[in-house]
Amino acid sequence: MFEFFWPLMASGLVLAGISLLCFSRNIVHSCFYLFLVFIGIGLAYLSLQLDFLAVTQLVVYGGGVVMILLFAIMLTGGNEQTSFSKNILNKLQAPLMGNLKQTALALIVSFIFLGALVYFLFISDYFSMMPFSPQTIRENQESLTFSLGMILGKQHIFIFEFSSLLLLGALIVAAAISRPEKEEKESVKIQEEIL
């Protein structure tokens, strides 16, 4: 009973969040519902006793991605530019999508993802062959975070360092792009002189 409560609550939150996200007409509300979906996924990880993954989900997606999306919406003007006509075909489309072509594209992409999910979960035996599935670790009575740290620090150290290098590169490029250019500085100087 108790062990079924959390997965049910998590999946309920995710499903409710996704359906509200799709049918909401306000893009900021959609962003908030996306936040609920991310928290639901975090709860699902927690119900599998994957603490570390749950917290990472909360920090990276719940905190970071939602914040970036909110800033993006705010800086691009929010929902003022989108307008919805009242004909039925447009109502059937996802509210935030522009036209039929984009809707068709979204449908194809989502069906590809659904197919991949069904293949990996039900048809192939990929997850049962994994050496560090949650079941094997729980049988070994080890802390999951501890074993995750050991795997990251020993077996996959190269990938780990490489990904951090990639992130560092992205950070430096972002800083370089967002730096004010020299011309702007000169114009600021001129303005100051005028003042």
Partner: protein, 369 residues
């Protein structure tokens, strides 16, 4: 055996094993209820303390009418908040306007899930306690930003934006500094880090080596900025932004923001106590470690240390003037982040050279003791 409140009570009532899940639910529910109520009272008393300490610093008397020494002032304030009219201004995003204060408050209450009040008085002894606590502060940032965005007011929006950028920026030095301690203690669990420290100050991580000593101050400054406390209270700068992200809020919705802020400061001080000041370690007097008296003694010591830090937070607020936005960002990116990175590398080198010994242990072995 996992150490939390349920396993502690289970020791005394082993017969309830048949009714395991309703019993577990009851124990956790009651303990969570207790924690939330105690912290709400702590936040209320913190507003009283804030007014009284500021009065002391400015040579005034402060609240002294309601109850002895004005102690019940916060209850009067709370009743006033509930009785006030709940104003929802025109043109606001109603859903988000109503949800934002709740999001802040829920985020803060979630962070009390892993706080180790004593060895057994803890709700969930997580393996990733430090990471969890640091991660939740971004959740509160989302609440503050949504509150500012949905208010349909320039001042609120500016306050919310400032708060979001401030919280995201100061997360970085704070996380790196916490990582220094995690490196030293070799674990992310709060109770594990506590058990690695001792009762006396020379056993604490604060005095373990010079790098952790600097780390504490970096953590404290970053924490002040993270909770939007003065001198970093730019999101609610009265002289520029009316009142920041909660300008349009009134009554209990405003009180939720204030309550969330005061409890967040408590959580932050508690994390500082766990990471640097020895946590809930208490002398055992030769008793069994699971003795009830010891649990209460540990809780008392934990709260005393946290309140001491809380006093310093209030003291800083009424002493220093507010920073400018560019000064705030340059403090974070040009000073605190490099110092934190230097501390991380320095602490790693210290562990490698001295095999993880503290400065006190090295001195003792130097004098041949």
């Amino acid at each position: 055996m996992e150490k939390n409140i349920f396993t502690y009570i289970q020791q005394y009532y082993p017969d309830f094993i048949l009714l395991e899940w309703p019993f577990a639910f009851l124990v956790f529910f009651l303990f969570a209820f207790l924690i939330i109520n105690v912290l709400a009272i702590v936040a209320g008393l913190a507003t009283y303390a804030e007014r009284k300490i500021s009065a002391d610093i400015q040579a005034r008397i402060g609240p002294n009418r309601v109850g002895p020494y004005g102690l019940l002032q916060f209850l009067a304030d709370g009743v006033k908040m509930i009785l006030k009219e709940d104003i929802i201004p025109e043109g606001v995003d109603k859903l988000l306007f109503k949800l934002a204060p709740l999001l802040c408050l829920i985020g803060v209450f979630f962070s009390t899930l892993v706080l180790p009040f004593s060895e057994f008085f803890v709700l969930f002894n997580s393996d990733v306690g430090v990471f969890y606590l640091l991660g939740l502060s971004t959740l509160i940032g989302v609440g503050i930003f949504l509150g500012g965005y949905s208010s349909n007011s320039k001042w609120s929006l500016l306050g919310g934006m400032r708060s979001a950028s401030q919280i995201v920026s100061y997360e970085i030095p704070m996380t790196i500094v916490a990582l220094t301690i995690v490196l030293l203690g070799q674990g992310l669990s709060l109770s594990h880090l506590t058990s690695k420290q001792g009762i006396f100050p020379w056993n604490w991580y604060l005095f373990h080596n010079p790098f952790t000593f600097i780390s504490f101050f970096v953590y404290f400054v970053a924490g002040l900025a993270e909770t939007n406390r003065a001198p970093f209270d730019l999101p609610e700068a009265e002289s520029e932004l009316v009142s920041g992200y909660h300008t349009e809020y009134s009554g209990m919705r405003f009180a939720f923001f204030a309550l969330a802020e005061y409890i967040e400061v408590f959580v932050l001080c508690a994390l500082a106590v766990v990471l640097f000041l020895g946590g809930n370690n208490a002398p055992s007097f030769g008793l069994d470690p699971s003795h009830l008296f010891l649990q209460f003694l540990q809780t008392l010591i934990f709260f005393l240390k946290t309140f001491l830090l809380y006093y310093i937070v209030i003291w800083v607020r009424w002493t220093l003037p507010r920073l400018r936005v560019d000064q705030l960002m340059s403090l974070c990116w040009k000073y605190l982040t490099p110092i934190a990175l230097f501390n991380l590398v320095g602490c790693a080198i210290w562990i490698w050279i001295f095999k993880g010994k503290s400065i006190g242990q090295i001195c003792l072995s130097f004098f041949g003791l």
